[in-house]
Assembly symmetry: C2
Homo-oligomer: 195 residues x 2
DNA sequence: TAAAATGGAATGAACGTTCGATTTATGAAA
DNA sequence: TTTCATAAATCGAACGTTCATTCCATTTTA
């Protein structure tokens, strides 16, 4: 997840992620990060300008990682439906495999603590733009109803997010059956031939 | 929104809500709340035990308010589809009419800062339970595909939330047309006669 | 041997909360 | 209606703690 960072930075980012998820931003103090990561505050400040920098770096790293994960095996020569369903399934599997990263992005993507510059950089490397393109194609090919592709992406992602949140709260169990159902429901929602 | 509170409590809750939305929790200090609401910290502590209490009270008040709003005109003798679509439209209109409350709940419903007790109390008076019942009925009547009603509610709510978030970020414009489309898409996603 | 990296005590600002003085409201007695 | 005593409400300075950050001595690396 933090491959492009050195050992110390990696330890700091991983520790910060864990602490923020189990506690929260304001309860995640620098001294706690230092203690839990085994790196002194002095060293942390040698690699990061400030606490804000750590959080923003964390945000960018996770969004980039998620982007790569979601777009796995999506640019193939298979039918558009297959590729879209693969992206959707990747989203679900990603959040199950890396729940901390998922929760972090969920909690902070709309927070003022994340700078606009970080959000912009994240958008560049994230999955949102590329996926919007696929939706656009699906609309143009008449597979999807004529609707704003960006709204569709948001809508579908939101529906996954909330089922996953419920899963992480132990209110819903995500099984392979439920995943199959979710993909079906997602397709049906905007499929042109069901109208 | 805060009718069951006295004048001072109301001012404190309203100010806190505004500050938390435009800044965030950790930047919303008691002295700032005091200054902006025109009520001294001494008085605030006369009515609230702590900052935590204020936030939790805010959370409960908003969820209760939202619950009433969403369930408006849903318990009528009209067809189930009409009543479900009314609940969905209420959700959308609520978030457009009271965006601060919407954003607050969005940001804090999964935060450790909100006690489990507050979440439990909120669930009792919120719209989630009653709506789940309606979905259950729709499944039993064969209107909806056989799927866990709770997951359906989450899924649909999530899809609205994300479109609304995009709207509040000025990335999408919610028009009456888009609302009509959203209701249609929501119905299609789980409608039994489209399978 | 010079530069980079590390450690952790020290610093100063900011925060939530408390406290005691002061003002305002209440209501029974005259 | 006025008076007065008690209680409730309000204020903001003061308190103690915690936090992000700095600093410099020490260790490690090149």
């Amino acid at each position: 997840m933090f491959d492009r960072y050195n050992k110390v930075q990696k330890a700091v980012l991983e520790t910060t992620l864990s602490l923020i998820i189990e506690k929260e931003l304001q309860a995640t103090s620098m001294s706690l990060i230092a203690k839990k990561s085994g790196i002194s505050t002095g060293s942390i400040y040698h690699y990061f300008d400030s606490k804000e920098t750590i959080i923003n770096e964390l945000y960018k790293a996770i969004v980039l990682f998620n982007g790569e994960y979601v777009l796995q095996n999506v640019y193939t020569d298979e039918p558009l439906r297959t590729r879209l369903e693969r992206a959707w399934e990747n989203m679900i599997r990603l959040s199950l495999e890396y729940p901390k990263g998922f929760q972090f992005i969920e909690q902070y993507s709309f927070s003022p603590y994340i700078h606009d510059e970080s959000k912009r950089q994240a958008y560049e490397g994230g999955w949102c733009g590329p996926l919007k393109q696929l939706y656009q194609e699906a609309v143009e090919q008449g597979l999807f109803i004529p609707m704003d592709p960006f709204s569709m992406v948001q809508m579908h992602y939101g529906s996954f997010v909330y089922v996953i949140k419920a899963h992480l709260n132990r209110e819903v169990a995500i099984t392979d059956d439920l995943i199959r159902q979710l993909l079906q429901v997602t397709w049906n929602s905007v499929s042109a031939d069901k109208q």
